[in-house]
């Protein structure tokens, strides 16, 4: 490939005439990212626009500029329905400029400029591309994504799935940071995981002796107990999170969400009517497997950026662990300090657990039996 001279000779003359070559149906999506703003254009062949929204009003088989312009509002509506751009799982609002025409090798295209504002700066751009869905399954969107000096391309629409593109490919660490942040966010906002963990940890500063709670003598057994529970939970949910993230295993979300709620009920009731006392780590492990699927559903919404899948998954998981650890470090020293008070043993633990169990029971009923 070393004859640059030839290119200049070949490219000097303007193409004229109306000849067209046949290629399969393509849409051209050009997106430029700047912070939280997107700008670009979408091109659909005039022929494809005809099938999508109907252009040929007089049905003479000729599509004129007048007819195309008249279809502009319908086209914009159609595009909004079949194309969405998202920044880290939040929709960016698309606004169209005015329609123009672009000539390509297989005929004229409707050229639709747009701008879009996303809720936050883009690290990961997700695109759902379903244009020509049901009309021409071989239609593809050819994406050209520009972020600063970095340009990448992708083929969209081959499957129903969301295409996920790391906008800042030059730095996988920034992507990882984004996923780490999402992980911490999730453990904070996903209160059900925390309540499950707390239900298992609250009794860690106590021992069950002859049907009664007694405080541990010093920090050592409490620390060991906490460590075991947290470790078991972490290992378990990491396993299933990874399996689900790489599409090895998939469970319906209704099932996992219900069982997660159920797991909280079980863990909380176990504090009021203790059955398992010394081996709570086992509960943490078994139910932790299901909580992992819960985390995975969040990750599935976000998508894993191609090219940085593993690192993003690890970062997300670390974010969860970090959030979880922060809670443990915040709550457990207090519990440890209060362990000798009867209010902790007789009120806080049982009534707190009862409140948690009741709340989780409501979730369970909602998730398992009410329509989604």
């Amino acid at each position: 490939m070393s004859r640059p001279g030839a290119f200049f000779v070949l490219s000097c003359v303007l193409a004229v005439g109306s000849a067209e070559a046949h290629v399969a149906s393509n849409g051209f999506l050009d997106v430029e990212v700047q912070g939280r703003d997107l700008s670009g254009s979408l091109e659909l062949a005039v022929r494809d626009v005809e099938l999508a929204v109907g252009v040929d009003a007089d049905r003479d088989g000729k599509l004129t500029w007048r007819e195309l312009r008249a279809s502009e509002p319908r086209l914009a509506g159609y595009v909004l329905q079949h194309l969405s751009l998202r920044a880290q799982d939040q929709n960016c609002e698309i606004h169209f400029g005015s329609l123009q025409v672009n000539q390509r090798v297989d005929g004229n295209y409707a050229w639709l400029p747009f701008t879009a504002r996303c809720p936050w700066a883009l690290r990961v751009l997700q695109i759902r591309y379903a244009l020509m869905d049901g009309i021409d399954p071989s239609h593809r969107g050819l994406l050209r994504l520009t972020a600063g000096t970095h340009v990448q391309s992708a083929v969209l629409g081959a499957t129903d799935a969301l295409s996920t593109l790391a906008v800042d490919r030059s730095s996988p660490w920034r992507t990882a940071a984004q996923y780490f942040h999402a992980g911490t966010q999730h453990i904070w906002s996903g209160i059900d995981h925390l309540l499950f963990l707390l239900s298992l940890l609250l009794p860690a500063v106590l021992l069950r002796r002859a049907g009664r709670w007694v405080p541990v003598a010093d920090g050592r057994p409490a620390f060991c107990s906490i460590l075991k529970v947290v470790t078991a939970f972490t290992i378990a949910h990491s396993i299933t999170l990874s399996l689900a993230a790489f599409n090895v295993v998939h469970l319906p979300s209704r099932l996992t969400e219900s069982v997660i709620a159920g797991s909280i009920v079980v863990a909380a009731l176990n504090n009021i009517f203790p059955v398992v006392t010394e081996t709570r780590a086992r509960i943490a492990f078994v139910f932790g497997l299901l909580h992992g699927f819960g985390f995975a559903s969040v990750l599935a919404d976000m998508g894993l950026p191609s090219g940085a899948r593993l690192i993003s998954l690890v970062a997300f998981n670390c974010g969860i662990e970090a959030g979880q650890l922060a809670v443990v470090l915040g709550v457990m020293p207090v519990a440890y300090a209060l362990r000798r008070l009867s209010v902790y043993q007789r009120a806080l633990l049982p009534w707190g657990s009862a409140a948690i169990a009741l709340l989780a029971l409501v979730w369970f009923v909602q998730r398992a039996f009410l329509p989604a």
Binding site: M1, R3, A6, F7, L10, S11, C12, V13, L14, A15, V16, G17, A19, E20, A21, H22, V23, A24, S25, N26, F28, D30, S41, E43, V46, R47, D48, E50, L51, V53, D56, R59, G61, K62, L63, T64, W65, R66, L68, R69, Q100, V101, N102, Q103, R104, V105, D106, G107, N108, W111, M132, G134, I135, D136, P137, S138, H139, R140, L142, V155
Partner: protein, 391 residues
């Protein structure tokens, strides 16, 4: 992580894409959009071919509910695609069949039509899979056996193709012989196959089957080096089936080989929108120093670039030939020819690989082709100059 060889392949692919984009750069290329507002309201932006208007949507929807509508409609779209080279029609056919695929038990008619779509897109392995499934459901489906034989032949799997030809016999013994003999012509028995096909009785054959017979005879005569006989057979075939793009392209190649460039242009006039035809037009224009060459060249480069961007190069053989003979980029041509050879093994694929390897001074690259020729005893006068030197 992709394997090293896949990485290398993707590198050469990207290099080739860059070449194509540059070659087509002013020609409505894939790189820069030059949007404009048409000056006149009544400027015509597109002409709709029959079956591509939105008024066809109701019948398409009906096809979702009724198989007796879906099958002929899909067939119509496929024939439109074949006659005009307009690949969008394959997509329309696929959409019509979509609802009927994945049924249990699978409908063999749907599977065969879908296999035909896959074949037209050069997804040959997938096509064989669909055909096998169709034949499990209906073991005496002659159309499925014939399509299967055709696809396996393109893949160079002559033994399996031959076994499929035999299964045609209960439905049509003459057709089965034509199928078998055409394979023998590729498998080291060119002369006797040529004689056998010439002696096949014509009476029972449909027009389409007759056209096929003439086309095969034309190719065999060409391989034997008898160009005047080949021209005769190709013309007979085209008279019966003027829309047969394959035969028309083969005849165009014959004319080009004899230096009859002006006749080539006449033969292909009005078919510029089909890339294989446009390639031959460009080759003829080149021979004649025709100023139209610039536009043909840019259009081909742009069309190939779009195909490469999609990652499914239906016309890779043509792309290789374009890069070799029109763009004169031997190493890019060789990489396209190698990619092509990975997918299909017709004589024309063999020839372009041999030629590109020689032009790029990489005789080793032709090794798989030479191996194939040795294995099958392929005879073709067009291969001779390359076989001697490379061996």
């Amino acid at each position: 992580m992709p394997e090293p060889s896949a990485q290398a392949a993707s590198r050469t692919h990207r290099g080739r894409l860059a070449c194509l984009i540059l070659l087509g750069i002013r020609g409505m290329a894939a790189v820069h959009a030059n949007p404009y507002v048409p000056a006149r309201d009544d400027e015509v932006l597109a002409h709709l071919p029959p079956g591509a208007a939105h008024t066809s949507l109701p019948i398409r929807q009906q096809a979702g509910a009724r198989l007796d509508v879906a099958l002929p409609l899909a067939q119509f779209y496929i024939s439109q695609a074949r006659a005009t080279g307009d690949l969008r029609f394959l997509g329309y056919a696929e959409a019509v069949l979509m609802r009927w695929r994945g049924q249990t038990p699978p409908n063999p008619d749907v599977l065969v039509l879908h296999a035909t779509i896959l074949q037209s897109r050069h997804s040959f392995d997938a096509a064989v899979g669909e055909l096998n499934e169709a034949l499990r459901a209906r073991p005496d489906d002659a159309q499925a056996w014939l399509t299967r034989a055709t696809v396996l032949r393109v893949l160079g799997r002559y033994d399996e193709a031959g076994a499929s030809c035999v299964r045609l016999a209960p439905a049509d013994v003459i057709l089965a012989q034509l199928c078998t003999q055409s394979l023998r012509a590729l498998d080291g028995h060119l002369k006797s196959a040529y004689t056998a096909v010439r002696q096949l009785p014509l009476q029972s054959l449909s027009n389409a089957a007759r056209a096929w017979r003439y086309s095969e005879l034309g190719e065999m005569a060409q391989s034997l080096g008898d160009d005047s006989a080949a021209a005769h057979w190709f013309l007979e075939a085209l008279q019966l089936a003027p829309d047969d793009a394959y035969t028309r392209a083969a005849y165009a190649d014959l004319l080009l080989g004899e230096g009859r460039a002006a006749e080539t242009l006449k033969l292909l006039d009005g078919r510029e929108s089909m890339e294989p035809m446009l390639l031959r037009i460009a080759l003829a224009q080149q021979r004649l120093n025709d100023p139209g060459l610039t536009q043909s060249r840019q259009m081909l480069a742009s069309a190939f670039a779009v195909e490469e961007q999609r990652g499914e190069a239906v016309h890779r053989r043509e792309q290789a030939r374009f890069l070799l003979d029109v763009a004169k980029l031997a190493s890019a041509a060789l990489s396209a020819a190698q990619d092509d050879w990975r997918v299909q093994r017709e004589p024309a694929d063999l020839l372009i690989l041999l030629r590109a390897a020689q032009a790029a001074h990489q005789p080793d690259a032709a090794a798989p082709a030479l191996q194939f020729v040795r294995e099958h005893g392929t005879e073709d006068v067009r291969f001779a100059p390359y076989l001697g030197r490379s061996q």
